[in-house]
């Protein structure tokens, strides 16, 4: 096995016509790391994963996966990885089980290992009762789960997953992440993109991409600590109107909805009492207001919207 980082990205760039989708990315993914990629639409997450999987050549720069150049030897990268694309090739006229067996054959998964792996995949996907149903007749979320099963039947050195939980319900999402943690514990390197920031919080490190560049890269804890402005969560009778009232306050740098609460980033020295007063004056009942630690989603929203304002 190659001894350096599992993935080494150096100046990786991809253009589509005039659009710079990925702009000179450079970072490493360590062996056995659970590495998350997050970012707004069009940040270059999918393009980066496609290049790492050896299915899209870079315009310039290179990446080494397990020590093999994706620019010069993309075919040699493939035995070391499993790649789950957003649109994964399921055979709609094969059953659920036949699809998994097809990929097991394709990846040459040893026969004796298949029953255990299959059991684990059934546990998370709950697809066992549907194993004889044609893939074409599954609901959207179930197709997604089947695609994941097909990728995970193979245990490669590096697993590249592009939004694996797209359309997957909260229960299966939990179970899927336990499988990813198990695979990491067994030594697999996992690179995963997601639009769920609570999933990104479970990664060892996270890269926040925007417009093809790295806006931040660190452990979730370090990213959360780097959020130094005072942050408060306010629960109010009319959350959306409360947000708008808060946005109009000069001491509020930004205010966004988090479910039934509003998270407001304050200027230094701002006090909470003046905000609850302002809300009261607008006829809004404040049910609860207290300072909170920034979640990764707070960090994401703050960094990306600051970047947008700067652009």
């Amino acid at each position: 096995m190659h001894s350096g980082p599992a993935v080494e990205i150096r100046g990786l760039t991809r253009r589509f016509g005039d659009t710079l989708a990925v702009d000179a990315l450079s970072f490493d993914v360590r062996r056995g790391e659970l590495f998350g990629i997050v970012g707004p639409d069009g940040a270059g997450k999918t393009t980066t994963l496609r290049m790492l999987a050896g299915v899209l050549p870079p315009s310039s720069g290179d990446a080494h996966v397990e020590g093999i150049s994706i620019a010069s030897q993309p075919e040699r990268v493939k035995p070391h990885i499993a790649y789950m694309a957003q649109r994964f090739g399921l055979y709609e006229d094969l059953t659920v089980r036949e699809n998994i067996e097809f990929y097991a054959d394709l990846y040459r998964v040893p026969k004796r290992e298949r029953p255990n792996r299959l059991q684990r995949l059934w546990r998370f996907s709950r697809l066992e009762p549907f194993q004889h149903r044609l893939a074409g007749q599954l609901s959207g979320g179930m197709k997604q789960k089947l695609s994941l099963c097909c990728s995970l039947i193979h245990h490669p050195a590096v697993l590249l997953l592009d939004e694996p939980t797209f359309g997957v319900d909260p229960i299966s999402r939990r179970d899927l992440w336990l499988i990813l943690h198990e695979m990491v514990a067994e030594g697999t390197t996992v690179v995963v993109s997601t639009s769920y920031l609570d999933e990104a919080e479970r990664c060892d490190r996270v890269a926040l991409l925007d417009r093809g560049r790295t806006l931040a890269l660190d452990s979730p804890t370090a990213l959360q600590r780097s959020f130094s402005a005072p942050l408060v969560a306010i629960r109010a009778s009319e959350p959306r109107r409360a947000r708008d009232v808060l946005r109009a306050q000069p001491v509020v740098r930004s205010a966004v909805l988090f479910g039934e609460s509003v998270h407001a980033v304050l200027a230094d020295g701002a006090d909470l009492a003046s905000l609850t007063e302002a809300l009261g004056a607008a006829g809004i009942d404040v049910l609860d207001a207290h300072p909170i630690r920034a979640s990764l989603e707070d960090v994401f929203i703050d960094r990306v919207s600051r970047q947008e304002r700067a652009a």
């Binding site: 997050v38 970012g39 707004p40 639409d41 069009g42 940040a43 957003q86 709950r126 009762p129 549907f130 149903r133 007749q137 599954l138 609901s139 959207g140 979320g141 179930m142 997604q144 789960k145 939004e163 797209f166 359309g167 997957v168 319900d169 909260p170 229960i171 299966s172 999402r173 939990r174 992440w177 336990l178 943690h181 198990e182 514990a185 639009s195 769920y196 920031l197 609570d198 919080e201 479970r202 979730p220 804890t221 959306r240 966004v256 909805l257 988090f258 479910g259 039934e260 979640s295 990764l296 989603e297 994401f300 929203i301 990306v304 919207s305």
Partner: protein
């Protein structure tokens, strides 16, 4: 606005939707939650007249979903996970196409086109092919097209799957704008924070409606104590706690572990044992309010788990 009575749909011997009854008031934002395969999409397809019920009935905007299905099409807006846009047509051409489909012409069309462009934030990008738009814009354009004809009721089937947190919030601002203008919205989602934005929620499992109430009341009705635990070994601790004494459920919430306790004392010893396996001490279990995700998972498990064939 919507009245479903014992709505049922079977595919062969599989009952996808099983005697589902509910009503949605005018102006309501009504959320549809449930595991994959619970019957949400099938229910929506029956309500918009795309799929005939096997039994039961439904009225939408005063029309019967079977007898009046042709007229129903003009009274509703519908947007699915696969945004119904033509990728090789431009933004303007997509809007024109929907204008033709819904019979919106002349001055009214021009007004509505401008409204859709403003709603989607695509003024000045009219000649851009739809396929080249970022996902968030595609989604807002698809929403605009779905309501071009100002339907009183809008059906959204997982409209925000895979969309980033900023674009998701922007999309919900649009839903709120439409709802305030009087549009009734039925929306399915897997994002629990979005479920909080709904006035009422219906939770489906195995084709049946297992809960229906406001988000606040659903959370308040959840009767199990939930604790949050900080640990450096969350995945392993979750595994060790599965089936341990006093533990009903343990799962990761971000990096923390949420524990649903049956018996609090027994649960605390189980947690201590799980932590000591990693050389950690129990520094305290923080009692937390049930989140909608806790409620969702708890109710589905209580009903015997997610879908079975």
């Amino acid at each position: 606005m919507i009245e479903a009575v014992e709505l049922t749909r079977r595919f062969g011997d599989f009952t996808a939707v099983d005697r589902v009854s509910f009503t949605v008031q005018a102006g309501e934002v009504f959320g549809f939650l449930g595991p994959n395969g619970a019957g949400k999409t099938t229910t929506i397809r029956m309500l918009i007249g795309l799929l005939a019920p096997t039994a039961g009935s439904a009225r939408v905007a005063g029309l019967d979903v079977v007898a009046d299905r042709a007229e129903l099409r003009t009274r509703i807006g519908y947007m699915s996970q696969k945004f119904s846009l033509y990728g090789d047509l431009t933004v303007a051409e997509n809007i024109e196409l929907y204008g033709g489909l819904y019979g919106v012409h002349g001055d009214r069309f021009e007004q509505r086109r401008d409204w859709v462009l403003a709603l989607a934030g695509l003024k000045g990008d009219e000649r851009q092919p739809a396929a080249e738009l970022p996902l968030g814009y595609k989604q807002r354009l698809a929403l605009g097209c779905a309501v071009l004809h100002e339907p009183p009721i809008l059906f959204l089937d997982e409209p925000t799957s895979g969309v980033d947190p900023l674009a998701r919030r922007a999309f919900w601002d649009l839903i709120d704008t439409l709802a305030r203008a009087g549009t009734t919205v039925l929306v399915s989602t897997h994002y629990m924070e979005e479920a909080e934005y709904c006035h009422r929620l219906a939770l489906m499992n195995r084709g049946r409606l297992i809960a229906l109430d406001t988000p606040a009341r659903l959370r308040a009705a959840y009767d199990r104590p939930i604790f949050s635990l900080e640990t450096g070994h969350a995945p392993r601790v979750v595994e060790a706690l599965a089936g341990a004494p006093g533990i009903e459920d343990a799962a990761m919430f971000g990096r923390a572990v949420h524990i649903v306790a049956g018996d609090v004392t027994a649960a605390a010893s189980s947690v201590r044992a799980a932590l000591s396996g990693h050389g950690e001490e129990l520094r305290g279990l923080e009692r937390v309010e049930a989140s909608l995700e806790d409620v969702f998972v708890g109710l589905v498990r209580r009903e015997g788990g997610a879908v079975e064939g």
